[in-house]
């Protein structure tokens, strides 16, 4: 049956919509990066987090930028006539030579903190990356493949979730004997990926029914391709959040283990410094800075990761952004037009 429609004429042109960004790829990429920079500048949490993290990263990468001594160097104090040998310099207060004083054995505290930064940052970043990567592969595959494989992977994940972390860590570390950074990374990764895997699996499951994944399957793509190329790139913001969360976890758990004495006591790291400070009675000896400063650094680095986590959440989801007081009042004023009373409820934060 012939259709009385001529399709060559009268075809409406698919007029392109005026789009947000002009120009070819390069300009678009630059514009996107520019938007990110602006977003970071505007968000207070992001700015604080970026500054803190940048500071620590700089010190970790180039400790030479900051003047410090060898942390194992022993400084000697004043020679006294009745001493057989020169005692170690024990200084609780900051001085020109020792910005944070020294510890009970005459080591410079500031140097320990500076040199220890690298170990902690390596621990945080590597553990964060490894944990997130393993969790990504396991979680997303479980969600996408479903059925039998989902069941198998879930059993593995849940087993690791249920096992109590610290006892397991203690056992493993004791069994392995030595416990430098590498061992810590290994142990934290093995015990840490399962929680993230669960999270990513949930997210992947909600994405699984999106038509573009089905479209890729119907197009003939292999499952592996769909998971890696079609699915995971759409989860980048969650993956970033997981990485930051895992890095935070690594900093706290790793330093915690070292503090308990399960780390390598001869390594220079904030956690081990804390361990020595605590086991040698720093507070009783009045060496407050020795005890407090490494802990403060741990807290600050942890805070940096946490701040960045919140910040990226807010940047990607405008609904989470805090409505600051000034903006709220301006919006409320506009809500009540000429002559109307100000409705107090309109100044609600979204």
């Amino acid at each position: 049956m012939a259709m009385p429609i001529s399709v060559s004429s009268g075809q409406p042109a698919g007029l392109p919509e005026p789009s947000a960004l002009p120009g070819p790829g390069g300009a678009r990429g630059r514009a996107a990066r520019g938007r990110l920079t602006t977003a970071i500048r505007r968000n207070r949490k992001a700015t604080a987090g970026v500054i803190l993290l940048a500071l620590f990263t700089l010190v970790a990468l180039f400790p030479g930028l900051v003047p410090h001594y060898d942390p194992t160097e022993i400084f000697f104090g004043a020679k006294c006539p009745s001493c057989y040998s020169t005692p170690a310099l024990v200084q609780s207060a900051p001085s020109a030579a020792h910005w944070l004083g020294t510890d009970l054995e005459g080591h410079d505290v500031f140097s320990q903190v500076v040199v220890g930064t690298r170990a902690v940052l390596v621990l945080a970043v590597v553990t964060g990356l490894l944990t997130t990567l393993i969790a990504m592969v396991v979680g997303v595959a479980a969600a996408y493949l479903g059925g039998f494989w989902d069941g198998v992977l879930n059993v593995v994940t849940d087993m690791l979730l249920v096992i109590p972390l610290f006892p397991l860590l203690i056992v493993i570390v004791k069994y392995l004997g030595q416990s430098g950074n590498l061992v810590l990374i290994l142990v934290l990764t093995v015990t840490g990926w399962s929680y993230t895997a669960r999270q990513l699996r949930s997210q992947a499951q909600s994405l699984r029914n999106r038509d573009f994944l089905l479209a890729a399957k119907v197009r003939g793509e292999r499952s592996f391709y769909i998971i890696m190329v079609e699915m995971i790139p759409t989860m980048t913001s969650l993956l970033l959040a997981c990485f930051l969360g895992n890095a935070l976890y690594a900093v706290l758990a790793g330093s915690g283990l070292q503090f308990l004495g399960l780390g390598d006591p001869n390594m220079v790291s904030w956690g081990t410094t804390l361990y020595w400070a605590d086991s040698q009675g720093a507070l009783q000896s009045g060496l407050y800075l020795w005890e407090i400063v490494p802990g403060l650094c741990i807290a600050l680095l942890g805070a940096a990761f946490a701040l960045l986590n919140y910040a990226f959440d807010e940047i990607s989801n405008p609904a989470l952004r805090p409505l600051r007081a000034k903006k709220a009042r301006r919006q409320a004023a506009l809500a009540a037009p000429i002559g109307g009373r100000l409705a107090s409820d309109d100044a609600r934060a979204s």
Partner: protein, 340 residues
């Protein structure tokens, strides 16, 4: 159509607007105040609804019809804000009222039916529980009265009151929508606002729901503002029809008039975009292009970039709403009071 004839406690006039409009919207403007832009979603819209009248607001996605509806019902939250105009309902300007004052009006005199019952009904409460919540919120406490009224409104919409015990997921789509409408009628309001209540339904259920709404309106005498993107749905049910485009009113008038003789080129294009089931099979064009970006609305007529009858002045100045044969048209073609 069998249902108990409901009582008519207010003795309302039946679809004859008697004394002054029930709802008067004048120059209402709504903007979305975003960080990167201000979106002019509704631009100086005026409309009247008389007692017992059925007004349909028609437009495509992004035209501002839902925003307008929520503004009238005062359900907008930041970043949306009413930036101008008035909404006078039963003589009171709703814009600027506090939540306390508004809650006196809400549901008693004006109620809202949302687009998707599955989203609007609480999934963990039974239908009876939701009706009870609504009634208690407005001061009705006697259990007898609540039960009696709940059963009554369900019967009005054609649902057996035995379903009061059901949860929303146990009802079919059509029944859920009817339950929503029943809830909106608990206090026999003067005005019921409906935001695309039939879009989630199949075509047969849609038709019967529309007919039901019309029948209830005839019997109980409430006014209806019905927002939809599907003109043909309301063609047989609405008294007046308002076509919106890009946040503005482009044509408004009696339904049959607008349908039989559309004046605005957008309305003409829209009508032409409906393939007919029974008429002759002809090739159709649709309307090329897309609606304008409301963060940077064009100067002049907002439909000019897509208008087949565009003139030079359309691009520089905004046409006012001309009155032609009782129909309002925002188009320079009618500048001298007649079609060209």
């Amino acid at each position: 159509m069998t249902h108990a004839l409901a009582d008519d406690p207010r003795g309302l006039a039946r679809s004859h607007p008697s004394h002054g409009p029930l709802l008067e919207v004048r120059d209402l403007s709504v903007e979305y105040l975003l960080e990167q832009a201000v979106i002019n979603a509704v631009d100086h819209v005026s409309l009247d609804v008389g007692a017992g009248e059925f007004l349909a607001i028609v437009g495509e996605s992004g035209c501002g019809k839902s925003t307008l509806l929520f503004a009238i019902a005062r359900l907008l939250y930041p970043p949306a804000a009413i930036t101008g105009g008035s909404v006078t309902f039963q003589g009171r300007n709703l814009v600027g009222l506090t939540e306390t004052d508004l809650s006196a009006v809400r549901w008693k005199d004006m109620s809202v039916v949302m687009q998707s019952a599955m989203n609007a009904l609480n999934p963990v409460l039974s239908v009876a529980a939701q009706f009870r919540d609504a009634m208690r919120a407005h001061g009705v406490t006697s259990k007898q009265e609540i039960d009696k009224r709940s059963a009554e409104v369900l019967r009005m919409v054609g649902i057996d009151p035995v379903h009061l015990k059901s949860y929303p997921h146990q009802l079919s789509g059509g029944m859920r929508q009817r339950a929503m409408i029943a809830m909106a009628m608990l206090f026999t309001p003067e005005l019921i606002i409906m935001d695309e209540p039939t879009s989630a339904l199949d075509v047969v259920a849609q038709r019967s729901l529309m007919a039901q709404i019309k029948e209830l309106q005839r019997t109980l005498g409430f006014a209806v503002i019905f927002v939809t993107h599907d003109m043909s749905l309301v063609s047989h049910f609405s008294d007046r029809l308002m076509v919106m485009y890009a946040g503005q009113v482009s044509e408004v008038g009696r339904t049959r008039q607008v349908f039989d003789a559309p004046k605005h080129p957008y309305t003409v294009g829209l009508m032409d975009a409906f393939p007919s089931i029974r008429g002759p099979r002809v090739p159709l064009m649709g309307i090329p292009g897309s609606p304008p970006d409301l963060a940077r609305p064009p100067e002049g007529c907002r439909f000019a970039p897509r208008c087949p009858k565009v003139m030079p002045r359309c691009e520089t100045s905004l046409p006012p709403l001309y009155q032609v044969e009782g129909v309002g048209v925002r188009c320079f073609l009618y500048d001298d009071g007649g079609a060209r």
